[in-house]
């Protein structure tokens, strides 16, 4: 009886911990998306808006496709990341700068931008 009680308590604690972990990682993802948004709009960083329409961004360029429906266009996050890392792999004639290959963004910034773009 006592063991059973102890077991239930342990399970409750675990559930609580797990819940906390989920909450924390969701918050981390949200904060990544926010950081990614700032990088995407910042001229000296991602400057995605120079060529791509971004929902909520002012005066976008029109050289490249609008950044919408990204999960439909890139079901695989890794493929989107590869595209931002070096778009010339898929299309040698693209005008898109190779943000990872040429180290325009740090690996951390690249991940943040991928999180943001994937959320659009």
């Amino acid at each position: 009886m006592r063991d059973e009680h102890r077991g239930r308590r342990a399970a409750r604690s675990l559930a609580l911990l797990a819940g906390l972990a989920v909450g924390l990682s969701a918050a981390a993802a949200d904060s990544n998306i926010e950081k990614g948004r700032a990088i995407a709009l910042e001229r000296s960083k991602g400057n995605c808006i120079a060529c791509h329409m971004i929902p909520g961004g002012d005066s976008p360029g029109n050289i490249a496709p609008p950044l919408v429906g990204m999960k439909a266009r890139f079901p695989d996050r890794a493929a989107l990341k590869a595209q931002i890392f070096d778009a010339t792999v898929r299309n040698p004639e693209t005008s898109m700068p190779p943000f990872g290959r040429n180290r325009i963004l740090t690996p951390k910034e690249l991940d943040e931008v991928v999180d943001f773009v994937w959320s659009l």
Binding site: S59, I63, P97, N102
Partner: protein, 277 residues
């Protein structure tokens, strides 16, 4: 294959892969044809007005600016410089007897020195043989002198020649062409990425100007600079924009680039100096 690939193939890649060089005449036809197809309603002469040939809103602002041209005082300053004798009593005209309307003679291949000679280079070399210090190339007095000479040359048609009797001339042209189509800098853009492939489209709120016509109107009073600047100053600015190292004004790289780019605008009327954003 998209347009830029086709044009690049026509201009360079096919030439290398087949071992046959497209002639400058073929390049010129392909290059100008590209823009006539992209902007079928815009004439060659209009393309000399840069982005204002294709941007009606920008054009209205520009026309208002051109009513009282910001470069006018510099034309007068350049006129005085042209007329004023050097300390030894000689003039620029002693080196450049066809002046001041010299626009259509430059840039040209100089067989004797084996290089492309641009008008700013010829002016500074004239100063040096007459015991005067050369002037800085990007802006200032030399730009004013160029503004006067450009003004006097308005309406002349660009007629750059690649002489066939010296293979080094074609080599300089090919180097300029390669520079134009080579990607460079951290952002990995060539000149053609923006001014052929994406011309007419917007980067942020700026419309990218067509390459054809970019050589007709220098020096330029650029609002961003708040003063006159030369073509090579602009080359340097573009190179910095793509996060590449700029070459010095009047370096062999930029003279060869000017040779190619100006040849591509053959037949267009000179219309400098000009005002730009």
């Amino acid at each position: 294959m998209n347009l830029i690939q086709r044009i690049a193939a026509g201009l360079a890649i096919a030439a290398v892969s087949t071992g046959l060089l497209a002639s400058p005449e073929d390049d010129l036809k392909a290059f100008q044809g590209f823009f006539h197809k992209r902007f079928p309603d815009v004439s060659n002469a209009e393309l000399g007005n840069g982005v204002y040939a294709i941007d009606p809103v920008g054009r209205a602002n520009w026309e208002a600016i051109e009513e009282f041209p910001p470069y006018e005082p510099m034309i007068d300053q350049g006129h005085e410089m042209w007329d004023k004798p050097f300390a030894n009593g000689k003039h620029y005209k002693d080196c450049l007897p066809d002046g001041p309307a010299l626009g259509k003679e430059f840039p040209h291949w100089d067989k004797k020195s084996g290089r492309v000679v641009t008008l700013p280079l010829a002016l500074n070399e004239c100063r040096e043989v007459n015991g005067e210090k050369p002037l800085p190339y990007n802006k200032g007095k030399l730009a004013s002198l160029l503004a006067y000479l450009a003004f006097e040359s308005r309406g002349q048609l660009i007629d750059v020649k690649i002489p066939k009797d010296d293979p080094r001339a074609l080599e300089a042209y090919e180097k300029g062409k390669h520079f134009y189509f080579a990607r460079r800098g951290q952002l990995n853009f060539s000149c053609a990425t923006c001014h052929m492939q994406s011309t007419g489209m917007r980067i942020r709120s700026e419309i990218l100007s067509p390459a054809l016509g970019q050589a007709t109107h220098w020096p330029v009073y650029r609002s961003k600079w708040g003063e006159l600047g030369t073509l090579h100053r602009r080359f340097g600015g573009c190179n910095k924009n793509v996060r590449a190292k700029a070459f010095p004004a009047q370096s062999e790289e930029y003279r060869d680039l000017e040779y190619f780019l100006t040849y591509m605008s053959n037949g267009l009327p000179l219309n400098g100096p000009a005002a730009r954003k």
